[in-house]
Symmetry: C2
Subunit: 412 residues, 2 copies
């Protein structure tokens, strides 16, 4: 079968680690697989290069920054190919422009339009292990582009999709996707499987294992993703289609996420007439402020309150903008609260299970935690809480929904 | 006019130095020139990358090493383009494969076959300063190649030739070509002009200012080369066509070179019959040993002696090979001497001046220096001496041929 393996920066941080990567690729090759290895820059290298540019100017040219930082992955690719060949296995590095990973020209955050896979296929047919630098592509004019931080995951998934690989393995410094952050809840446990949609919720809600775009890509092309540790042997977590997951694992809730990187803004006593919400969010959008949760309650006496959350770095700016908007539209006032946490439960299972929401609210109530805002989707429920209760909420929910490691063992 | 400027590693060793390079390029542009800047890797970077490969294996794959080390020049190019743009001047980096610097596939020592100059020309026409990484090219299959150590000089000259530049400036850490090594002879002085042929002799005999191939290239395409310091303002040395030099400067001898990196091997009492010399030098050539000077004297009693010099690292190997050859061809014995120096006088003028050789030999004799071997070409005379007399010989010849700085001043 054809396997794409992707290794992050800590997995290739020195020539010893690169040696481990080479051994693993050769193992797969020896058992009969075709192998493509996608590598990140050695850890610290991208920052080193960005710092050089930052010493010159605060706003370095986008195109040239991509030419600059793409060297990080190029160096790792060449070193890995050298290592593979020194171990007696034929290998070749194929850079972004050589592999014809064609992107648009949005330097620093380019999107892959196409991969002309002939070059890679022909090298695989010669029995070579193909090494491709992640994160980089080339636009139609031949300029080097990069895909944004974490873009190496996207490179791996795009190659797997384009070449119809049987599996895309993402090697990182954790051994899989966890039910929640093990630093907050010591009973967090590794999931054997998770669906693309759940993974997307987990990723966007704060789990840092996979880049969101790579999961979207994997979902779109049904590429099975295996998240594994490059440091210890283990089963990892398979991210795959919903149906497969449902048949494999019958849990309602897959994980609990926790984020304290948002602030909550409330517009009070907004006139309850058409166009008010549109006005607020158009102004924010025009200022490039991304809004996460939006909650509007039923109105009382011709006014209503709207609460929304934004990323903390944008909070003060959003608040200032709202102060002006409030006057303009005749609302009463605006409040900001930066001491909030967002705790979410994620699970495909909740679509077909009743009582999940009420159970979540009861658990929080039992701990004496007040819920400040609620938002739901088909596969997640998020509650905004006072920040100081965030970690307590995670642990209580983790236990209540049967995710604690000990509970699982008892069930077996 | 169109000017190609090339800056070596010490001239771009940090972002401050890169800033100086940018200022100089903008100066030229502002006075109305079109400017192409060719840059080396930041000093130490190529060695850092080679050391990484060397930690993996003693013999890293040639193709991958070129992919690895070409990143050094790529980084400098991007940083310089970022600097130029931050100073308000439009600029663009064009890498070897983007500039279509087409080479053969001899990784690590590739030769330039062609430059498809359209891309560079079109960017120059837009008023941009074009930055090109030196040292790198691309072969017909799209593999990255490098031109060998010092190859950035060759890139600059090749671009100047291809684009019919009016001048190619080589910025380095010395302010020009000197009559001899200033470390040996404090009266050494900078030459205003030197011919391509003299420069080739100077370069191959030990002066380290310019890469030999770049001078050959410049001669072939009549590219005027200006060697200048990137650190101090100065006139530099113009390397150009013989006729121009002769009319500009009427000196017989341009410089004295000195090398102690060779060893001398003598085959004694070789049978004086056809094929003997061929046998010796075929065997050496088959072992990839490059021979420099070869001297054979007239024969006595049906035998002759042949003396040759080789680079010191090859000396012991060459000596062992000769011990076998001596038995095979019936010569008497073989001797090796590693304590030698080669001192040469170089000058176009000597073609039309009699008495140069005898003057050289007299000067050495007056200092009590014995000459062990002599070889001559149209524009140079080299003498092999005992190593300990090397520096003394340089100083004595420098004075005798009127090259001392003080003498020049007196003449004016």
């Amino acid at each position: 079968m054809l396997v794409v393996q992707k290794y992050g920066g800590t997995s290739v941080k020195d020539v010893e680690r690169i040696g481990n990567v080479a051994k693993k690729a050769i193992d797969y090759k020896n058992r009969g697989d075709d192998v493509i290895v996608v590598v990140s820059a050695m850890s610290g290298e991208t920052d080193r290069l960005l710092n050089l540019a930052g010493k010159i100017t605060t706003f370095p040219d986008d195109r040239e920054v991509d030419t600059l930082i793409s060297t990080g992955e190029q160096v790792t690719s060449a070193l890995l190919a050298i290592t593979l060949k020194s171990m007696g296995h034929d290998a070749v590095s194929i850079l972004g422009y050589q592999a014809r990973i064609i992107t648009d020209s949005s330097f620093g955050k380019a999107r892959i339009d196409d991969i002309e896979k002939e070059k890679i296929v022909s090298e695989l047919k010669k029995g070579k292990i193909v090494v491709v630098p992640g994160f980089q592509g080339v636009d139609k004019e031949g300029n080097i582009t990069t895909l944004g931080r974490g873009g190496s995951d996207t490179t791996a998934v795009a190659l797997a999709a384009s070449l119809k690989a049987d599996l895309c393995e993402i090697y990182t410094d954790v051994d899989g996707v966890y039910t929640t952050d093990p630093n907050i809840c010591e009973k967090a446990r590794r999931l054997d499987t998770i669906s693309y949609d759940e993974m997307l919720e987990m990723a966007s809600l704060g789990a840092k294992v996979l880049q969101i775009r790579s999961v979207e890509f994997a979902k779109k092309y049904s590429v099975p993703l295996m998240v594994k540790s490059s440091l210890v042997e283990g089963k990892g977590t398979l991210v795959c289609n919903k149906e497969e997951v449902m048949s494999m694992e019958k849990v309602v809730i897959s994980g609990i996420t926790y984020s304290k990187n948002e602030a909550k803004i409330t517009v009070i006593k907004l006139p309850d007439k058409p166009g008010m919400a549109a006005k607020i969010f158009t102004v924010l959008s025009d200022s490039n402020i991304v809004v996460d949760i939006i909650v509007q309650n039923v109105s009382h006496a011709d006014t209503t309150d709207i609460t929304f959350t934004v990323a903390k770095p944008d909070a003060k700016k959003a608040f200032k903008i709202m102060e002006d908007v409030v006057k303009e539209i005749g609302a009463d006032s605006v409040k900001i609260d930066e001491n909030i946490a967002k705790v979410s439960i994620v699970g495909l299972g909740m679509i077909s299970h009743s009582g999940i929401a009420s159970k979540m609210f009861s658990v929080l109530a039992d701990e004496g935690i007040n819920i400040e805002a609620i938002t739901t989707s088909e596969i997640k429920i998020s509650c905004v809480l006072e920040n100081k209760y965030g970690e307590l909420a995670v642990r209580a929910l983790h236990k209540a929904f049967g995710l604690d490691a000990a509970d699982i063992v008892e069930e077996k």
